[in-house]
Amino acid sequence: MNTNVMTETAGDIVAENKPVTADTIAEQNADAYETVGNAFCDQAKMSMRNVNVFYDEKQAIYDVNLDIGTNEVVAMIGPSGCGKSTFLRCLNRMNDTIDICRVEGQFYLEDQDINDKKMDVVPLRARVGMVFQKPNPFPKSIYDNVAYGPRIHGLADRRSDLDEIVENSLQKAGLWAEVKDRLHQPGTGLSGGQQQRLCIARTIAVSPEVILMDEPCSALDPIATAKIEELIDELSQNYTIAIVTHSMQQAARVSHRTAYFHLGKLIEVNETEKVFTNPDHELTEAYITGRFG
């Protein structure tokens, strides 16, 4: 329902005076379209080409092409239900866990097509880690939370190696100082913001190359959010990050490039400064200035 309303206004903006009906929208959807701005990179860490995603019969993503550069933070924004999460979850095959979800297209992580059916998702997910909307520490100690990934992937042969990995990861997640005296207390006893940083530490512990984040701050208060954003900024020194967020302000704050999705289409990708001061596409403009609906 909401979507309908949005579509209407979106239509309004595109073809200003012409009243837009459901039909024309459907037409639009069927049409090929072109992403404006600058969806490609020279030094792409991940490249997605001609991505189409279906839930059963329903298409959720239409022909998306996007590169994510090395050590870049790409934010994905767009109205609710536009397919941001779906797209993000393609990047480490988390959509495999949804039976009815069918993913088409090429996803290159460096040179490897990860959407290959023969691809083993276990090592893939060790390379492309994910942080979720709600902080979800395992009901184990802080130490075990961080050590879990290295353990299942056999990253540490000795206990001391593991200790080191844990410490390093917590350091990088900016949590070490706060938890070093209580590593063996439960991770669920931390505050929301700390839990989310713990989840990030857990992800870092398997040394991923790319970190995906699906609305990582939506369950947090402003202060915890600010800390996570700060952390994302620090992480972007070493990791490639793709972040989905509902908060345009957050996208503006943390990302280098911003991708705007609309009804499953990638409408615009541009440098964040550009998107938030002078976007190329009317839909992007309408969304970020609050003119939808």
């Binding site: 206004t9 309004d12 903006i13 200003e16 345009m248 302000q249 503006a252 998107v275 938030f276 001061t277 002078n278 976007p279 992007t284 403009e285 309408a286 970020i288 200035t289 609050g290 003119r291 939808f292 609906g293």
Partner: protein, 238 residues
């Protein structure tokens, strides 16, 4: 037609805040424009009353400037504007300063008018002053229209017209200096005319500044410190 869709926000309050901002700005523009007309008229007709009116209006203009700036700050604090909204706020915040300066310059002219009126005879350069005054008023008018309509072409025209004004100012200035050299007794009176001319020239510059802001507002391009040709070129590239 409102290309920037200022009235299309979900939030009516936001719409009306931006709308107020624009209205306030244009109103201030109107006041300032009136000041120019009055000031030029007061000089031309040695009309002290009109000049006095211009001077009193000055305070109104100052108050308006502060009000608009306050409005801009509030919109930024309360609405976190982005994209075109942000550009609108920023360019209004910049342009309001220009309007205020235009008002100042008009006051200066009015002051000259009072000074001139104290002597009996008509100094040289009055015709130039009147001529330039008309042109400057045109330019300011065009600027305000361009702003009201978000009309980039008109804004560019303002910038090129300002060059013409500058040239005319130079000519008038040279003539006046020549005249002063011819009749040194008149120097002090001529100086008043010079200051008035100078003020008119500055008004043209300010109008040009505002036009640059209009281009920034509509196109998102910062075209300051460029000639009109460069501007047109850059706009066409888009």
């Amino acid at each position: 037609m409102d290309k920037l869709n200022i009235d299309r926000h979900i939030s009516q309050q936001y719409n009306s805040a931006l709308d107020d901002l624009k209205k306030e700005f244009l109103e201030m523009g109107g006041v300032v424009e009136k000041q120019i007309i009055d000031a030029v008229q007061s000089v031309a007709e040695a009309d002290v009353d009109t000049a006095q009116k211009v001077l009193t209006t000055e305070q109104d203009v100052d108050a308006r400037e502060m009000a608009i700036d306050d409005l801009c700050t509030q919109i930024i604090a309360r609405r976190q504007p982005t994209a075109s909204d942000l550009r609108l706020v920023m360019s209004v915040s910049k342009s309001t300063r220009d309007l205020e300066r235009i008002g100042d310059e008009a006051s200066k002219i009015a002051k000259m008018a009072i000074a001139i009126s104290e002597s009996d005879d008509v100094p040289h350069g009055f015709s130039e002053l009147r001529n330039l005054g008309r042109q400057v008023h045109d330019v300011v008018d065009m600027t305000l229209t361009a702003f009201a309509r978000y009309d980039v072409d008109l804004a560019v025209e303002v910038v090129s017209k300002d060059k013409v004004i500058d040239r005319e100012y130079d000519t008038a200035m040279r003539e006046l200096i020549t005249y002063m050299m011819e009749d040194p007794r008149n120097i002090s009176r001529s100086m008043n005319v010079i200051w008035a001319l100078r003020a008119l020239e500055r008004i043209g510059d300010h109008a040009s500044n505002i036009s640059e802001q209009i281009i920034y507002l509509v196109k998102g391009l910062d075209v300051r410190h460029q000639s009109a040709d460069e501007m047109v070129q850059q706009l066409n590239q888009e």
